[in-house]
């Protein structure tokens, strides 16, 4: 576990030593702030709904961008070989990377608490919906992050990793939005598999274990796929 945390710290440091973390955090805050401010000043609505509706779209691009380097760059530079010949298990390496993305994600979401406080101060905060929304946002981001890391393990090219990760995440995002075009039974399955569907549930303030389980199992599945990719020891 110690090695996992060591790797997490290194990854976080790499994010913050370069511009990546700052760009992601400030753009995330700027976009959510714009939507929140619009609602607040133009429509006189102090609500987090604006943030919760725009954030999944931002994650669609940001999580693949944050994770595209995680294994692709290690493969390109050859450091993957160092990493995987340390006395650690492959899953510890993947977990270390996922944890660093989770922490960065938590920080980005945490920074929006400023808006939450504004809402609490100006209007009345729907506590259930807020907690559900934050939980949903984090789980959604975590799932996207795990998929991004898997995509990154498939190639040594960061751009390919980004496109792959984005494509998979986008497909998952669209799944519950195209159910009108398929027969009923299949539609239900697709809806259940859609990433956004569960977020909408959580955002309403109903914290259902099925929604939480969906994200956790998607994350675990992407994690598992990554261990398979690494076990093949790609060049």
């Amino acid at each position: 576990m110690h090695a996992t945390w060591t790797l997490t710290k290194r990854e976080l440091r790499a994010y913050f030593d370069g511009p990546a973390a700052y760009v992601v955090l400030s753009v995330f805050l700027a976009i959510t702030g714009w939507f929140f401010g619009n609602a607040l000043f133009l429509q006189n609505v102090a609500s987090l709904r604006a943030i919760f509706s725009i954030a999944p779209f931002i994650f669609l691009f940001f999580l693949p961008a944050l994770t595209m380097a995680s294994f692709a760059e290690e493969r390109r530079s050859g450091t993957l070989e160092l990493l995987l010949t340390f006395p650690v298990r492959d899953w510890q390496v993947i977990l270390g990377k996922l944890l660093s993305v989770a922490l960065l994600l938590a920080l980005a979401i945490g920074l929006t608490l400023f808006y939450t406080l504004t809402v609490a101060f100006l209007g009345d905060l729907d506590l259930g919906a807020t907690v559900g929304g934050y939980l949903g946002l984090f789980l959604l981001g975590l799932t996207y992050g795990a998929i991004g890391i898997w995509a990154s393990s498939l190639t040594r090219n960061q751009i390919v990793a980004f496109i792959l990760g984005f494509a998979v995440i986008f497909a998952l995002f669209l799944l519950d939005k195209v159910t009108d075009f398929v027969p009923g039974g299949l539609g239900v399955i697709m809806q259940y598999l859609g990433a956004d569907f569960h977020f909408q549930n959580l955002m309403r303030g109903v914290i259902d274990t099925r929604d939480v389980l969906y994200y956790l199992s998607m994350t675990a599945f992407a994690f598992l796929l990554t261990t398979y990719t690494l076990a093949r020891r790609p060049e």
Binding site: T6, R10, G78
Partner: protein
């Protein structure tokens, strides 16, 4: 210490390593020699536990690299080909990261880093980012990284490739001084390096092991006999006719120069220098040169690896 048994590793249909077996004893420095693509790197990757073998076993201190991967990895320090390093990190931080990943306790890390800094001469670059370092320093950081946990076994894949001659000598000396207490496997395609730093040579070609022995043994076993350069003041014809009577030697070429000196290159299976000396004395020729050439490791290498 290291036992490799019938190791086979394929990439798709291609056999990169084909049933290789060898042993490395404690304290030995073994040179892995072979043309590019011969299977050196693949063999090393299997021994370090990075790649799983398709067939065969690799035992390190009696432990199978697959079954007891983590214990084996703890005993090995590894410098992969092309010295991969996290180029966005500062040297000190990088070494601290490797130390932590290697499970060195926090209070011992500083001491180990100081030791490696001293051993590898890293004082000047400790606070520099790795991407600003010269190739020679990168290589030293790579070696420091490989030895930070004081492993009994070092596996170095082309530790001197891409370095200038001065750096090569430095790294070679570093390996030799560190190698005194360690078992070292290093791969190279630079032959003088093997002669300079290795106790034993293993030559691999097209995935197969073609030679295994000390540099001297290989030269003795595989050279095509020896050549003697013989120079005297005499008539070229006299020397020619005298030598043509010998059954155990063959004149390869001869020429004379304008000082009246004649030069003969003679091939023989045995040492014929004494015979040549007596021949010169009997005929009252003034001998000016007598030099024996044995097949070099380079000849051995060429002979074994060219087809």
């Amino acid at each position: 210490m290291i036992e490799v048994r019938a190791l086979t590793k394929s990439y798709g249909p291609e056999r990169a390593v084909d049933a290789i077996s060898f042993d490395v004893k404690q304290g030995e420095i073994v040179g892995f020699l072979g043309p590019n693509g011969a299977g050196k790197t693949t063999t090393m990757k299997v021994v370090t536990g990075y790649l799983p073998p398709n067939e065969g076993t690799v035992l390190v201190d009696g432990m199978d690299v697959r079954e007891e991967a983590l214990s084996v990895r703890r005993r090995i320090g590894y410098l992969p080909e092309n010295t991969p390093l996290y180029s966005d990190m500062v040297t000190y931080d990088y070494l601290a990261f490797v130390a932590a990943m290697r499970g060195i306790p926090k209070d011992a890390q500083g001491h180990r880093i100081a030791e490696m800094t001293h051993a590898c001469g890293l004082h000047e670059v400790l606070s520099k980012r790795i991407d600003t370092l010269s190739k020679g320093y990168r290589q030293r950081v790579g070696l420091a990284q490989a030895m930070i946990h004081d492993p009994p076994i070092l596996i170095l894949d082309e530790p001197t490739s891409g370095l200038d001659p001065n750096q090569i000598v430095e790294i070679r000396e570093l390996i030799r001084s560190l190698g005194r207490e360690k078992t070292v496997i290093l791969s190279t395609h630079i032959l003088p390096e093997v002669q300079a730093s290795c106790d034993r040579v293993i030559i691999i070609n097209r995935g197969k092991l073609v030679a295994d022995g000390t540099p001297d043994e290989l030269q003795a076993d595989l050279s095509t006999g020896e050549r003697v350069q013989f120079s005297v003041f005499a008539s070229e014809d006299d020397v020619s006719s005298a030598l043509s009577a010998w059954s155990h030697a063959e004149v390869l070429r001869h020429h004379s120069d304008d000082t009246g000196e004649v030069h003969f290159t003679i091939a023989a299976k045995v040492d014929i220098r004494a015979d040549l000396f007596h021949l010169a004395v009997e005929n009252n020729w003034t001998m000016t040169g007598l030099h024996r050439e044995r097949g070099s490791l380079e000849d051995v290498f060429r002979q074994l690896t060219s087809e």
